[in-house]
Amino acid sequence: MRRSISMAMLVLMMVIGPVAGAHDDDEGDTLSLRVGLTQPWTTLNVTAGFTVSEFEIWTLQYEGLTSRAADDFEIIPGLAESWEASDDGLTYTYTLREGLRWSDGEPLTADDIAWTINTSRDQGWTNHISATQNLDAVVVDDRTLQVTSSVPDPKLPEVGAYILPRHIWEEHATDGEAIVGYEALDGVGSGPFVIAEYAQGQFLRMAANDNYWDGRATLDEIVFRIFTNADAMVAALQQGQIDAAHNVPSSSVTTLEGDENIEVVAGLQGGFDEIALNGGEAEGQPHPALLDIEVRKAINHAIDKEAIIEDVWAGQGEPATTISVSADPKWIPDIPESEQFTFDPDRANQILDDAGYVDTDGDGIREMPGGGEPLVLRHAVNSDSTTAQSIADLYVGYLAAIGMRVELSAYDEGQLFDLIVNGDYDSFAWGWVPFVDPDPMLSYFTEAELGNWNDANWFDSRYDELYLEQNQELDEDRRIEIIHEMLRIFYDSAVYIPIAYTPDIQAYRVDRFDGWIRQPADIGPVMFSMSSPSYHALTPVGGGLAGDTSNLLLIVGGGALVIVAGLAVMVSRRKKTADERE
């Protein structure tokens, strides 16, 4: 008898499997956008988290004091409908929109904003502090707010801080420690969507906010679903189990582009990938040859960026000259091609020959000038990255072509981070995604950040001077000039080999929703951008949805159950009669 039940279970699976697989789970009348992600949330608390997937949730839930235009990142009204600067540029007076409300119906006033700015500054909230550390906010009246900066701050009038509802957060914000422990599932916000349901490691549902100042979105809800495996996510998009996907692996792009129902978007927003050489300013021991700028230049010339982009990122991405420091490309200096480290192995070999690095013992590997230590470099492979191994394999090949050997070791991100801080490596490959304001990215390569975020283990006193200068330069053109000079200094040091401006590859089904917006225009992504304007703008294709399949599933399931039950009874009866006959 026990056996017949287990057989019944098997039959049940076989029967349901193929039929149910052909259909999606639509939810009746709810207009739902389903987005696939590969990066799970570690927390939904805006004072604790730091990952891209978390920022997307906060961007949707908390409207900023100001916002950024979809096309060109221009600062546009958000909660504030207008603002005015004082003559010295230190004080801004904001006027809020009329009748602002939180999603739970409570009024949203200047007090919420002033409280957020002042408390985050005093308590040092992770994601707020760099924006609010020099600010002081004063409530003038419910709709008027005055913000004063103690130093000239080129970032104003934007205050890069998520504005939180004081009536929810105040009780948790007793100090900077306590607030981090709050789970923040209250779902009270001012943006177009707010958190409605959260299943750890599986999905997060956001519901449209009825009180959004720009009106309720057409979508009723957004469901973000976590996939551990990017391949699974791609297949789910093709099968229509999700409507859009973030962080699509570049290896799937060709497959998806062949699908007429799917649009692939390679969104550029400042992210880049680099191979970093050890600049030698940290404590540890890089290979002595790396301290010679000529060797670093030679390595730069040896790398074929276009080949790496084609083979590792399936052609998704632009060859990088220098690093990018902002989602806005205007901060990147133009470097004349004659001054670039173009792919040229012959030139690289020439540089090394001229500098005295020749192969004295005939083993195919160059030695230090005058013989001695061979040029064998240690490259650290980030085992948490899906592309690091491929980049490493190519790097080995390119350096072999200029008479250097590379030995690989793999480290997870924690170990790699320690390794970099200790300076015990020669090179590694990693990537950055900068914010819109260039300041944070620029700060990483200052002397003060050695042993911390400065993973080039390099610094330059002129660069540091310029850094302080741009930090307080209110004239944007002048600031751009200064930053261009800084990036030129960094580029010429040849310590970072920027490989590619890597896109955030996203894909969506064209048969489900219309109205996707790229930010910035033409080149940017449609989701997970600076202010993610798409979600509020989406409308369903043809105004309707695919038929409801839940009934079908029920019928099929029920039918299968009947069949199985019948089989089970038959089997058990046959067995019984057989027993009786004995």
């Binding site: 056996r3 697989g21 996939f227 924690g414």
Partner: protein, 342 residues
């Protein structure tokens, strides 16, 4: 991975109790299990304190964090204390089921484990039961028609499944049945964000369960088939079966009434022990199918690495083995006629 269970095979049958009653035997085993648990705790603590990594710094790569804040977090995670203090703290907190805070999710490890346990029990339980039933049935069939074509094909096909990496089998099933044919979903426990309840939700879960469960069932059943087969062959050589046949009883009766029950003893023991091991056995397969259970939690925790999470999972896996070993011992006293029952 069914490697762990493979190792257990060697010790599938515990030493028969010597003297004393069943109660004393069980009591002795229980005390042994407790001592083992103590060892696991000590081992677990020191294993993880060998690592001196700074997870806090790692967590915040790419963000502007003041140095004082990093220090605060180190204090928060207790990684600035001396080792002996940490050990005492560890014992005290573990006894309260406080296994620390996951670096990755910042939620209590025990809470994370509790959340993920049902998914693993569902997947691993289904495949453990199915593989035991199907495997045993296949083993009986093979032994009964020894050296026949049936025997040959059963033995060789189970050997093949037994010898391949389970996740590779999963990759093949995934490519054929999910990607190419589209019959089954490519991963997950249930449709994301689905508000379905009751039967519909259950059907969706079963639908998601098929591929990973089929993978693990195929991977595990070989061992049961082989053990059952050789055990049954041993039993069948014994005299009383010849007597039974001589009495004119039909083959099926001899098989089902006499041979199989006796031959199943080692299989049951094997199953009990295996259940303890399989909890940790599905790491690669869960990762492959994005199955949100303990195995995937382990695979995820390798990144980082999320040491408190790994440590907690390791403790849970070890405890499961200890408990099921004890269960196997107890089951054994009921099943083996040789055990003294006074």
């Amino acid at each position: 991975m069914n490697l762990a269970s493979r190792q257990a095979t060697v010790d599938a049958v515990p030493d028969p109790p010597t003297g004393g009653g069943r109660a004393r035997f069980v009591g002795k085993r229980a005390v042994g299990a407790l001592i083992t648990l103590g060892f696991v705790l000590v081992f677990n603590f020191f294993l993880f304190r060998v690592v001196q990594s700074d997870p806090v710094a790692n967590m915040f790569r790419g963000r502007n964090i003041p140095a004082e804040r990093l220090e605060q977090l180190r204090t928060e995670f207790g990684i600035d204390q001396p080792l002996p203090t940490q050990f005492v703290l560890y014992l005290r907190e573990t006894s309260r089921l406080n296994l620390g805070i996951s670096y990755q999710s910042r939620r209590p490890v025990w809470q994370e484990i509790q959340t993920r346990m049902p998914a693993t029990v569902l997947l691993v339980g289904t495949s453990a039961i199915l593989s035991a039933l199907i495997g045993t049935a296949a083993g009986v069939a093979a032994a009964w028609r020894r050296n026949s074509k049936t025997d040959y094909s059963i033995t060789s096909s189970t050997m093949v499944f037994y010898s391949m990496p389970d996740f590779w089998l999963g990759m093949l099933l995934l490519m054929v049945f999910a990607v190419s044919l589209g019959w089954f979903p490519v991963g997950g426990l249930v449709e994301a964000g689905s508000s379905a309840t009751g039967l519909e939700r259950m059907l969706s879960q079963i639908h998601h369960l098929v591929l990973p469960a089929a993978t693990l069932t195929l991977a595990y059943l070989g061992e049961y088939a082989l053990v059952t087969r050789s055990s049954l062959l041993d039993v069948m050589g014994e005299d009383y079966l010849t007597v039974a046949r001589a009495k004119g009883l039909r083959d099926t009766v001899v098989r089902n009434r006499h041979a199989v029950p006796n031959a199943l003893l080692p299989v049951v023991t094997l199953a009990a022990i295996n259940f303890g091991f399989v909890l940790s056995g599905a790491i690669a397969v869960e990762a492959l199918f994005s199955w949100p259970g303990l195995g995937k939690a382990t695979a995820d925790a390798i990144r980082g690495p999320d040491l408190p999470m790994l440590q907690g999972l390791f403790l849970v896996f070890s405890t499961a083995v200890i408990i099921f070993n004890l269960a196997a011992d107890i089951a054994y006293t009921f099943l083996d006629p040789r055990v003294d029952r006074t």
